[in-house]
Symmetry: C2
Subunit: 353 residues, 2 copies
């Protein structure tokens, strides 16, 4: 983890900070190498400190190695963090403004007793995390391998008359027998009209011949996530189903074909969006085209019209155009790509569509 | 949901607030009756407004009925919330300081352009949620019924040589075939020495004859959670295992025997803690005795030495004393209780120990 801390310390210097209070669990995992919850992490040039309570102490201790010292939370963690900052002689300490609730900010501020400046900081670690290291990409590949096997398995399993929740249950079981630690998010299984809800929660609705069955599945492999959507039809795909499916598929391939270093992120979103609009479905595709993925299912970069950044080699993100026809059905096709030096690799390209 | 909104509006009046910006998903679910994520809710005497984006609009609309109006988030939600507050002519608006990140507070504050006071508020809805309505208790009972069936099923399934993750996978599948929407949290399956980590993440460790196997399972039934821990032994329980198990069981029954309206919450924690201390294991029981449970797995009241409140009929919480011997094993026994008018009902009492 040391090189990551080094990079972060350089960023802090640029921001004129000599410390950073990290409260995002994913950011703490990234810096400490230990999948963390109920923890805080203090980064500074002099020392890095991992704060956690009695439930995690024994588990964390051997894993931190030389990366950070460990302090046990007893009483107020905010008092402890403030005292530690003061004890280290820090002068300007940042905090993650997107990940610190107002109440916690207020408490740390009070305990600091104006002995140093507490300064909001924004996405310092998230921006580092956008570009994946080879070891991270390997874990993402493994998460996708498990996802692909799970979809192969479920393709053989599905037939008319199954409840969405039964399919979700089979997937939850399968991934744990095949190397995943858990699902990356609540698996979406949406039959027929339910597929028109982008974030449908699986329930008792039964699969039916000829109706689309949308499955959006991700797994966690050693902290790294996958996220993939396929639509099955339990029959020959025809009529409006087929027309919409083809529009979404073509939209996706137009976006993917243009992914390479240096290109504007908003343009990648626009390629799918404009194609869908040309076909007359603009108002049925409301969400952004995709999102970065790694330690979190949704992380930077957001692949949306609002992102004014450009693509950089090592970024990993989803490409998931969709058309949702309320009361009828929805089609979303989601793959994961890696920006390479010359273009991109569709990391989930081996999974049948 | 209307009576809940009425109660909240009375509380706001006491706090001298004429509006409240609700950002906790569980609190929004409680007020709106719709399980929410990526949403905000504004409560005021004049109108209540549910803010969400295109992904959820179609799903939310029919469910809000007369409880609240619906506004679609396009552009900045913080601008929209601020404009809505100004438009309603509000003067003193609270926000949930534990559930609003500093960055979001800052943005709402900016958009309000000092046209009204933005005031931190604390646990207003959480305190209402502590006392469950009969309909909520019925959902919790159903969540426990599913949990009990799952443990019956797994008792027949377990044998030496199974990976923790395989057991977790079987449970994940079973609960979805039996009425649960999902697990309430990452199911803990901890074999042998892993059981000494209170929040162990299941992995490849295999069950072994004579080693304790700790399972901490909760399910979600229509938004309401269960949370229950049992330890199995795959053999006759003996030696230190037996001694520790008996201490934890006796600690738990001492706490449960004293639960009734009016008693200090800290005392309930103390009864288990003191008994465990008397037996010489004080430093091996680091966490609090339990926690309220309902729409969230962990909610008010916390059953800990720090809580200076008293028990009230309708509270539902866990009682989970434990002893964790690092490197050896841990025993935790967790049940769920309901405070009744005269004493308490162990809601999970039908599940074998």
């Amino acid at each position: 983890m040391k090189p990551r801390l080094q990079k972060l310390l350089s960023r802090l210097k640029q921001e004129n900070l000599d410390g950073l209070i990290v409260s995002s669990p994913a950011n703490i995992s990234y810096l400490s190498g230990f999948i963390s919850s109920d923890a805080y992490f203090l980064v500074s040039k002099k020392d890095c400190i991992y704060f956690t309570d009695s439930r995690y102490m024994e588990e964390v201790r051997p894993k931190l190695k030389t990366v950070a010292s460990l302090k046990k939370i007893e009483g107020s963690v905010f008092n402890l963090i403030a005292d530690t900052c003061i004890g280290l002689g820090l002068e300007r300490v940042g905090f993650e403004e997107r990940h610190l609730p107002y109440a916690e900010y207020k408490k740390i501020k009070e305990f600091l007793k104006a002995k140093l400046y507490l300064i909001p900081s924004h996405n310092l670690i998230e921006n580092l995390r956008q570009v994946k290291e080879p070891k991270e990409i390997e874990k993402i590949r493994e998460a996708l391998r498990i996802t692909g096997s799970a979809l192969e398995f479920i393709k053989d399993f599905i037939r008319p008359g199954l409840a969405e929740l039964e399919i979700a249950g089979e997937l939850e079981r399968f991934i744990r027998y095949n190397g995943a630690g858990e699902a990356a998010f609540d698996i979406i299984v949406a039959s027929g009209p339910n597929s028109a809800y982008p974030h449908h929660r699986p329930g008792g609705t039964k699969t039916q011949k000829g109706l689309p069955l949308l499955i959006d599945l991700g797994v966690d492999y050693l902290g790294y996530k996958s996220d993939l959507t396929r639509v099955f039809f339990l029959d020959k795909i025809k009529g409006l189903n087929r027309r919409i499916y083809e529009v979404v598929l073509e939209a996706q391939s137009r976006s993917i074909a243009s992914i390479k270093p240096g290109i504007e992120i908003a343009r990648i979103d626009g390629l799918s969006r404009n194609y869908i609009a040309d076909k007359g479905y603009a108002k049925f595709f409301g969400h952004s085209l995709g999102h970065g993925i790694g330690l979190e299912t949704h992380e930077a970069p957001s692949i949306s019209a609002k992102n004014d950044g450009i693509l950089v080699p090592g970024m990993v993100f989803t490409v998931e155009p969709a058309i949702y026809l309320p009361g009828k059905f929805g089609i979303r096709i989601e793959d994961m790509v890696l920006v390479t030096n010359k273009g991109c690799e569709v990391l989930s390209g081996f999974i049948d569509k």
